[in-house]
């Protein structure tokens, strides 16, 4: 009898999962499998596929452009993640207090998150404009001769990092707010009785108890920032002189502009493995931290 019900439940489970599963298999499952196969071929999108073994992967290891884009992506991540974590947490702490217009401020900080990257990039592109941009104008008022921002290979990536952080701080803030609300007030009460100050509470209660949220935020940001593309494409197109070319852009170019689907698929799989590796390391570190 019990078995029957379970079987029945399983049947209905499958029926309800079917629409989602169909979508997943057609639009995600099948492309993933085929990209793995394509990565071992020299497919140029138009001609016949020819199996070439590990050739694409060997070429990749020796391709200086790939390593430049890899280095640029890492540079982006190193700048972007600390910024969103610190400022996202700061905003969450501020907006977790009882204050006037709290909902308004929360909404304001979240607004960039729901704005399209295309619009945000175009606006920032103008802000960064060395001749007419607001940022250099503001700097000139206080007597600073602003940098060339996106036109200078040394500052272009920094410009992209700042714009990206600005857009995503709201998202990180909301996650941290959720985390903060899960911390029981009794910890703070107990600490107050023991005479702990604000800094002490932040350091010894809030930050350790936020660890699961911080972990989640870091993983999500890391995965997203390895795939950084839209803002780079619009703000600099990889320039000047390739100084902001990132991995996904490189993949896009090879796949759709240079007729090298096989090579591009190999790059995608390497990107996947890199993300997987970083996430795995973080999970290991996290496990140790909690224990």
């Amino acid at each position: 009898m019990v078995g029957m019900t379970r079987k029945k439940t399983f049947f209905w489970l499958c029926i309800f999962l079917l629409p989602n599963l169909l979508g997943f298999l057609t639009f995600i499952g099948a492309p993933i499998v085929s990209s793995l196969i394509i990565s071992f071929t020299d497919w140029d999108l138009l001609g016949e596929m020819q199996f070439t073994g590990f050739e694409n992967y060997i070429r990749l290891a020796q391709d200086p452009d790939f390593w430049v884009s890899f280095r640029n992506t890492i540079f982006f991540i190193l700048g972007y993640i600390p910024l969103v974590l610190i400022f996202g947490l700061a905003c969450a702490l501020l907006l977790n207090k009882q204050m006037k217009f709290r909902a308004f401020f929360r909404a304001t900080f979240f607004l960039p998150v729901i704005t399209s990257w295309v619009a945000v990039s175009l606006v920032w592109k103008w802000l960064y404009n060395p001749e007419y941009g607001l940022i250099n104008y503001a700097l000139s008022i206080v007597g600073i001769d602003g940098p060339q921002w996106l036109s200078d290979p040394n500052t272009a990536m920094i410009g992209i990092i700042l714009a990206s952080a600005w857009k995503d701080i709201g998202f990180v803030m909301v996650l941290f707010l959720g985390g903060l609300q899960n911390i029981s007030p009794s910890f703070y009460e107990a600490a107050s009785i023991d005479g702990a100050g604000k800094a002490r509470k932040l350091w010894n209660i809030t930050i350790p108890l936020l660890a699961p949220t911080t972990f989640f935020v870091t993983i999500i940001s890391l995965i997203n920032s390895f795939q950084v593309f839209d803002q780079v494409m619009i703000m600099t197109g990889g320039g000047p002189g390739g100084s902001t070319e990132v991995m996904v852009q490189n993949i896009y170019n090879h796949a759709f502009r240079y007729f090298e689907m096989g090579y591009a698929s190999a790059m995608s799989w390497v990107l996947f493995l890199v993300i997987f590796l970083f996430t795995w390391i973080q999970m290991k570190v996290q496990d140790r931290g909690v224990n």
């Binding site: 499958c14 999108l45 138009l46 036109s151 320039g239 002189g241 170019n253």
Partner: protein
């Protein structure tokens, strides 16, 4: 767990067979629908977005002449066009007839995606290649076969702001101007305080192969092997880069700060801009007097040549109908007249009567320059991986412009990069 795997396997199979079925169904449909009408699909970039109505008129005219052919048009903007085309070709769902510009034509012809039209042309009593501009017609040959029908062409000229020339007291450009003449004029016109510069030409691959030719250089030899590391090509590159870094007669990318050169010209901030004749319409409303001239050369003259043409998919089973439409777009006087009337590029026909109204329109006064430039045209290098070579070159030019790399080093990098890409 095992059950779930079996289940998903089952769905996978179900999907694959579903997809299989649907594509079979489609191809059957395509075969023709019994009552003698053939439906073809035409995919175009040059009609989007400004010339949709003109194209619709052309299609109506074609369908009147050929009552048993129906043309469905599909449009995409140039930037998205080729991604979609590739995907459709790869998916075995290519449009029957589609537009290709000359630079991309070779890539598609060499990969066997285009139908050979030579047979149709030979049998066609209503068409003779002499109706078309010969250079333009032959541009769509590959391996001695005709793989496309040229429909229109355009080139790049020296556009100059007469008011700025008058103010600086400089003579207008003439057909026998050299680089030196242009530089001398540009230096007089440049006025840093007012953000006015003497001349502008992009520092990109598309410009470089032409400038090199103006100095007798060649980026690739006849066999398509890179020959960029030569004295002529270095001089050409120095000419392009020094205008920004040394004499300052051309705005740097930072000084441009995201503005298009055409905007600067319209704003009265450029004495000369090297751009395509497709800008005639946009510059019509300029607040100053302007005209065009042949481009300056150094040791010889050289002018860009851009062409659009129609190619027929190698896979379609409606090649004849598709060819008829391509021929119509390419050689029909009716289409040529519509193009001239609406300033939709320049038809590649030889019929002077049709072209007369084009020459009579002003500005610019000196429209003959468009045709004179054809005497010294230089075609883009025909090499595989053209877009990759383009990207690498543009990137290296950016480094030369911002001073992080010398032109000598850039040219060495280009030589080795080209060799890498082409192997």
């Amino acid at each position: 767990m095992k059950k779930l795997w079996l289940l998903s396997l089952f769905f996978m199979v179900a999907i694959i067979s579903l997809v299989g079925c649907s594509s079979e169904g489609e191809s059957e449909e395509e075969g023709g629908d019994g009552n003698g009408t053939t439906e073809i699909t035409y995919y175009s970039f040059s009609a989007a977005p400004d010339y949709e109505d003109v194209l619709a008129d052309i299609v109506t005219a074609f369908e009147e002449d050929n009552p048993n052919i129906k043309v469905n048009t599909e449009l995409a903007a140039y930037d998205d066009y080729f991604t979609k085309l590739q995907t459709r070709l790869a998916g075995g769902n290519a449009p029957d007839v589609f537009e290709l510009n000359y630079e991309n034509f070779v890539q598609y012809a060499s990969k066997g995606t285009l139908a050979d039209l030579s047979g149709f042309i030979e049998e066609d009593e209503n068409f003779d290649p002499s109706q078309l501009n010969q250079e333009a017609f032959e541009a769509y040959q590959y391996d001695g076969k005709q793989y496309g029908m040229v429909e229109s062409f355009s080139n790049v000229l020296t556009f100059y702001n007469k008011d700025l020339f008058d103010e600086a007291g400089v003579d207008y450009p003439t057909a026998d101007w050299t680089w030196e003449d242009e530089l001398a004029a540009a230096e007089k016109i440049t006025n840093e305080e007012n953000n006015v510069w003497g001349t502008y030409a992009p520092a990109t691959m598309n410009e470089y192969f032409k400038i090199a030719a103006q100095n007798g250089g060649e980026l690739f030899n006849e066999n398509g092997e890179p020959t960029v590391d030569t004295q002529e090509n270095l001089e050409a590159m120095n000419y392009m880069v020094d205008k920004v870094t040394e004499s300052g007669v051309t705005p740097s990318p930072a000084e441009m700060s995201g503005q298009a050169p055409a905007d600067l010209f319209m704003n009265g901030q450029l004495g000369i801009v090297h751009t395509g004749i497709w800008m005639f319409e946009a510059f019509k409303d300029a607040s100053f007097e302007w005209d065009v001239a042949l481009e300056a050369g150094n040791t010889q003259k050289a002018h860009h040549f851009f062409a659009n043409g129609l190619a027929v998919s190698a896979d379609t089973d409606k090649k004849e109908a598709a060819y008829k439409f391509a021929r119509f777009m390419s050689a029909s006087d009716q289409v040529a007249e519509l193009r001239v009337e609406n300033s939709w590029e320049l038809p590649a026909v030889n019929n002077e009567e049709v072209l007369q109204p084009y020459l009579e329109q002003t500005p610019p006064e000196n429209r003959e320059a468009v045709f004179n430039a054809l005497d010294t045209l230089v075609l883009p290098p025909v090499v595989e991986n053209w877009s990759q070579i383009n990207d690498v070159t543009d990137q290296e030019f950016e480094k030369a412009l911002n001073g992080s790399k010398s032109t000598e080093d850039v040219i060495k990098t280009l030589q080795s990069e080209y060799e890498n890409i082409l192997n």
